[in-house]
Chain length 489, copies 2
């Protein structure tokens, strides 16, 4: 379904071996920055619209990468935006012509990167489109607007290239790892790119240039629709929603078995965001199981095979509803409803207070991987991998949306703060999705998976895991990224 | 939004005092059966299509009520239906011309009552419509088909009256309480009715006749759309989905506090389906609180005010998505997906095994209302009442869909079996809805409500409960129903 190859006039591309074939990838790095002016031919001014986490990170990275090229980066904000002060503090100012009203900056830019919140995009895209210069290129970092236009019967304006560069990680990670890239060349967050409209043939190289300039170690191709599906499903599943369901259910299971609060937290939330995520990031999925002792592997196997099926069922349901537009409609309804009725916060439940105590103890010891938690987590991750594979996503997209984004960006962030903080503070669309689907995963683990976890492990399911093509794909992807410090201060 | 008055040529109607005005109601009873031939003027043959719980109950009730009138009741089944044997055992036979292929029976009937499953209706309504006699009346017991036609761009066939009579209870209750009505005149399950299309002016009396003939003690008016919304929201909220969330979360809360399994079950599931339901059925909602001692009332108050807000949030979300058609799309997607991937069952979790032991102990003692469980349950019930009131439903519809159907039909059934059995065995649409939303309620109680239940109770919220207009509406509705034995064998 999603394409796997592309060509570039400017950049040297590589062919990645993946299960079943090859995929084109652009290996990034600061050594490519001298090529940026050529790849950005025709672009004198880039307007980054929005100063949320992505807007901020991308504007800073672009400006740093394009320093000295004569290509300016300006930030456009909606009237009354409270981000103006921080943007100015980072050197985007009215005086230098690099900060202004979002419509004014749009009208003045050759590449307009729309990084405002989904709801703002839904509400204001028509005005923004109307402000565009005739040949301006529209840039997105998320397929949401495509979904919205489809549901609402709207369209991208004709005659403009429409490209997307979608970092597979939070804005915070996009900036932080880019900065690390000054020391360790190639550090960054991977991105997918898509060309949705290309009136004059230059769209691909513009997208690649943008991706290189924001620091992507590894840029792979997709479609806006494929990005939309995998991203929105992912945040409701293994990236956030299911994680919440996993940690809540694991915590409760521990407490019901008599574990003290701190122990329960260490065997649930702390374990998933800490040692499990780090193991996968360092050494892949199989390593999680292989680095356990024999009794631990038995526990892992029982948990994995019990969790996989129920998790898969829900991922399939989420996927259907995202692909169908149904999930988007619920997001839009929620936006309307939340005007009158703000969303309650989940960070108040007792589990999260325990988290603070646990984080205070961290310096004192190294936590080992909990086999049961690992089996549930990896089982769920594999359920998403398999669902995406069944739906036709390319391997690059599968491994980035199902594994790498989780272990390199989101879980380290949660480790530093906690899952509830994440759920209560991430993008509105992700937050709504996590609140909607997290409990589904939680209930499925508690009511179906955990009662079955002591049954004999399903040998066929385990064999499918150990021989799975994803391990090869993940190892290949890992080769493109230098070892980075994924921890968050 | 929903109408509240109507007129009849045949039946004597009453005017019910409800908060803010009056509503028309038809008081049923076997004494009205002599009026049926006149009200059914023009109807010689009634075809009941489908032999699920509703089809079975309504066919039997109609045949009993119309005995000796010359109006025949025939049952139409899809080819290969496994219900044929049971229908024959109940006296609907090919030989007597009262059992046949669904299209043949449709073609032969003056009133065609479509009681097949929602998915079958979605798939086959066009064939059924095509088989209708020119003046045949289309009867439905659920607004689903209206929602489906809207989503799919279809229509009811022109020139046919379209009426609905919607019993506010399970098919099993519709039959069981009708049979009780032989002893206690007026026993039965209330129904709403709607006239969606009325080409010749007789639709209202046909609907009322149908409602009286199936034993409704109390028939009130609504629209197909209002019925659809309140019914589909209700089954995802206090009728089933939220009940599941309530009992799971209460059980876990008890166990986390150290209660033994049997005690935990008695203070959660057994309490809600048993003494709490019976108290509301006997004496209304306020009685649940008033019959507690002073410490119990304090606990109730804390639980009520903690649960109300989070529950209300979810009911509002469900309502938006049902009204918008989004929930229907998810049901349709699920039907497609379930062809390939059957739904897992939830009855295997340990809680339900405990239920069997608890039911074995029932004869030994009378369980008293658990104040915390009662506060959570009544708080959730009131959240639904308030949401329906805000959305403009008439009081009759509010109290039937939010209170009476729960305590007179569904909870007694769950008491005899258990909630998991219900979730695993009720109508496909209800089951999908309960599985989808139950965990949302559960998570909200566990993560938001219960941590706040020891906070000082919200006095304004409690005052709103004690002075609520719903108590008057419920008392008025109760006057129309003779005391019945709601327990299920």
């Amino acid at each position: 379904m999603t394409p796997t190859t592309y060509t570039s006039r400017v950049f040297t591309l590589e062919s990645l071996d993946v299960p079943g074939g090859t995929e084109t990838v652009l290996r990034g790095g600061r050594n490519l920055f001298p090529l940026l002016p050529d790849a950005f031919a025709g672009i004198r001014r880039i307007g980054v619209i929005g100063w949320g986490p992505q807007g901020r990170a991308q504007a800073l990275n672009l400006r740093d990468s394009l320093a000295g090229t004569g290509i300016t980066v300006a930030v456009g904000l909606r009237p009354g935006s409270r981000s103006a002060a921080d943007a100015r503090a980072e050197g985007f100012t009215e005086e230098s012509g690099t900060l202004g009203d979002w419509l004014a900056v749009t009208a003045d830019s050759d590449l307009v990167i729309l990084l405002i919140a989904d709801s703002a995009l839904a509400a204001h895209h028509r005005e923004l489109f109307a402000a565009l210069k005739p040949d301006a290129v529209i840039g997105l970092s998320h397929g949401f607007l495509l979904g919205h236009l489809r549901e609402s019967g709207g369209e991208f304006p004709a005659g403009h290239a429409v490209i997307a560069v979608c970092p597979k990680g939070m804005g915070d990670s996009v900036r932080r790892l880019y900065v690390q890239g000054a020391e360790v060349n190639g550090a960054g967050i991977n991105s997918s790119f898509a060309v949705h409209a290309d009136p004059d043939g230059r769209a691909t190289d513009l997208a690649l240039a943008w991706s290189v300039a924001i620091g992507s170690p590894y840029t792979f191709v997709t479609t806006l629709d494929g990005e939309y599906r995998s991203d929105i499903v992912g945040e409701r599943a293994i990236l956030l929603g299911a994680v919440h369901g996993i940690v809540e259910s694991l915590y409760t299971r521990q407490r019901l078995a008599g574990a003290a609060e701190i122990t329960a937290y260490e065997r649930s939330c702390e374990n998933v965001t800490g040692p499990i995520a780090r193991t996968i990031s360092r050494a892949g999925l199989l390593a999680v199981r292989e680095e356990l002792d024999a009794p631990g592997r038995d526990i892992f196997d029982g948990a994995y095979t019990a969790a996989y099926g129920p998790a898969r069922e829900i991922v399939a349901e989420v996927y259907d509803e995202v692909a169908d537009g149904t999930e988007l409609r619920s997001v839009i309804l929620a936006e309307q409803r939340l005007g009158a009725r703000p969303m309650s916060r989940i960070g108040g439940s007792p589990m999260w207070a325990v988290g603070e105590s646990v984080r205070a103890l961290r310096a004192e010891r190294e936590l080992s991987v909990d086999p049961f938690a690992a089996g549930v987590f990896v089982g769920t991750m594999m359920a998403q991998v398999d669902e995406f594979a069944e739906r036709g996503h390319a391997w690059s997209e599968i491994v980035n949306e199902s594994v790498i984004e989780a272990v390199d960006s989101l879980l380290p962030y949660m480790h530093a703060r906690d899952v509830a903080h994440m759920v209560d503070n991430c993008s509105r669309t992700a937050r709504l999705g996590a609140r909607r689907w997290g409990p589904r995963f939680q209930a499925a683990y508690e009511q179906i998976a955990y009662p079955a976890a002591d049954d004999p492990a399903d040998a066929a399911l385990l064999a499918a895991f150990t021989t799975h093509p994803v391990h090869e794909a993940l190892a290949t992807a890992a080769k493109l990224r230098p070892p980075v410090d994924i921890s968050v201060a």
